[in-house]
Amino acid sequence: MPTEQPLTDAGAAAPDVPAPEVQAAPDTELRLRMYRTMLECRLFEQRTHELFLAGLVRGTTHLGIGQEAVAAGFAAAMRPDDWTFCTYRGHNHTLARGTPMTPVLLELVGKQGALMGTKGGSMHLTSVEHGVMGSYAIVGAHLPIAVGAAWSAQYRKTDQVAVCFFGDGTTNIGSFHEALNMAVVWKAPVVFVCENNQYMEYTPIRSVTAVDRPAADRASAYGLEDLVVDGNDVEAVYAMARRTIARARAGEGPSLVEAVTYRHGGHSRADPGTYRPEEEVKAWLSRDPIPAQRARLLKAGVAEEDLARVEAEVKAAVADAEKAAREAPDPDPAVATTHLWADGGAEWRS
């Protein structure tokens, strides 16, 4: 288990990681882009949390702080017309596909100009324009939905791929089983990515799961290869993404990847996360994917000022989004009865 692994300064966990394939080795520009993406996720979410505490963000939020490498690594390997299906913990995935920060933050604060008219909120971020086909808040629901999208790509011969992200706890719900079986039988171009952050909400996954590796140990039940990657190493994730997406696009069928990672905070804004042993948290904080990638880039000869510039640009983008969020007006209550139907309305009488 990760916490027992030797922690290198770069934070790469040894055992489980498959050697990144050569042809998938990212060039500096791409490595820098993934660093930027992770930073966008991190700074956006940190600010979101502050705005939540300040009472500007309402409702609930589920932060992915600590898990950015999974979103960034996969997004970097996806084609613009590929599809992302993710969960209520979906800020990272939504931003990683290129959705601008401002409409996303407006959705979280619930103001005009929001990504979804403020109807969905944090748990349901969707940007079809950017291939983000939805953040789903009922555990497991989006796995079969992703299979359906993959089937559509297969039928329409568009060679698009669906990538479906979910958590460790999701591997114990029925729709996981149904989706995996159907995807394999139909050879659907879908990649299932389990972000194993070790916990459901407050319950350790190992205490409620029949096997040690909630996703990888289930792969054989669908005739799939057992794939595990260090979810805190963005380049290892990228390599795995390249490999599994290429397989899907080539018509060779689905894959199931277990990305081992950790959320730095609690499950949701309501949760301090105190049920987690201190050493465990400490060990994982020391494996933060962002400083790890920064160190790796410096080692690779990227100049400190180039990194500093990226960091300044991301900070500025977050600040702009915040400014917009503070200034935007509340929505018109009439919005509440729009877009139930394709005609834009909500009439049920004829």
Binding site: W83, I145, A149, H339, A342, A346
Partner: protein, 328 residues
């Protein structure tokens, strides 16, 4: 003009739409090679091939979930739930995902899909294979609900359901599958949201759906023969959109309303229709608003019991007669 069974009308309606639109695909358990366990999809595999007509595993969440994913990415899936009772195992997909996603995404996601299902009782299948779930669907914002009572309407409403840009639940009534009627050749399209006055009358309005329509008609004829009250019988045909215009017009004319529902007593579509009338037309009424329903129990497998549970022409005659006499 050709004689068609209600069962064949299902396949004809689907085929009509698959021919005009290559984005229409069908999936479900045993629907392809076997032509459906009720033989309602017979011939589709031969005509349209395995890419468009797919047999699935016994995985209702995956069937309905896949239909949703395909619908949001350019297809028009027609998914079968073999028995409507099986909505139970896929209810999250239907009620929480399909019904809500267009709304939650402020219109970004379109879900032009149909879920067809064998609904209703009368075949002695017992409590887990005889339910009427049109109310389950009607209670969920974001779902349209159709329940045809004739082969013609089955073809035409199936066509409209498949063409509709929003999710539509099509209830195919098990006990009507063998019914025959002459149906026009060529394309048939019956718009959603239009009730049909199947019999004109002056003394009371009877609103029915699917298998209850022929029973309401039989009751009306019997009353007419015996000099009883003259009943106007309305086939709602669709529950969402709900054609209250036709119902209210009729009630204002007859000043009496009876609903005939197959579903269990509580919270049925009849309660909705009655409540709308009780708010909007109360001053036109001459007497109580009366719902004739299956009692609030599951359906039994035994024919004697099941026949006693479901509203029959006899019971409609009795209830109408006693109500009109007691309050005339």
């Amino acid at each position: 003009m050709a004689e068609l069974t209600y069962r064949q009308a299902v396949a004809r309606g689907i085929a009509q739409e698959m021919e005009r639109d290559p984005s229409v695909v069908a999936l479900g358990e045993d629907i392809a090679a076997a032509g459906g366990v009720f033989k309602t999809t017979e011939g589709l595999l031969a005509k349209f091939g395995p890419e468009r007509v797919r047999d699935t595993p016994i995985s209702e969440q995956a069937i309905i979930g896949a239909a949703m994913g395909a619908a949001m990415t350019g297809l028009r899936p027609v998914a079968e739930l073999m028995f409507s009772d099986f909505f139970g195992v896929a209810w999250d997909m239907v009620a929480n995902q399909i019904a809500k996603t267009r709304y939650m995404t402020d219109g970004q996601v379109s879900l032009p899909l149909v879920i067809r299902t064998a609904n209703g009782g009368g075949l002695r299948f017992g409590a887990q294979h005889s339910q009427s779930i049109e109310n389950w669907a009607m209670a969920i914002p974001g779902l349209k609900v159709v329940a045809p009572s004739t082969p013609h309407d089955m073809v035409g409403l199936m066509a409209s359901a498949i063409r509709d840009p929003d999710p539509v639940i099509v209830c195919e009534h098990k006990s009507l599958f063998a019914d025959k009627a002459d149906v026009d050749d060529g394309e048939i399209v019956v718009p959603l949201g239009q009730a049909r006055v199947v019999r004109e009358g002056t003394d009371a309005t009877v609103v029915a759906l699917a298998a209850m329509v022929p029973r309401a008609l039989a009751a009306a004829e019997r009353l007419a023969e015996n000099g009883g009250p003259s009943l106007e019988v309305i086939d709602l045909r669709t529950l969402v959109p709900l054609d209250m215009t036709t119902v209210l017009e009729s009630v204002r004319k007859t000043s009496r309303l009876f609903t005939v529902e197959e579903n269990p007593r509580l919270c049925g579509w009849g309660a909705e229709v009655v409540s709308i009338v009780a708010e909007e037309a109360i001053y036109s009424l001459d007497g109580p608003l009366v719902r004739i329903t299956t009692p609030h129990v599951p359906l039994a497998a035994n024919p004697v019991l099941e026949d006693a549970q479901m509203p029959s022409a006899d019971r409609i005659v009795d209830v109408v007669t006693t109500t009109m006499e007691a309050t005339g």
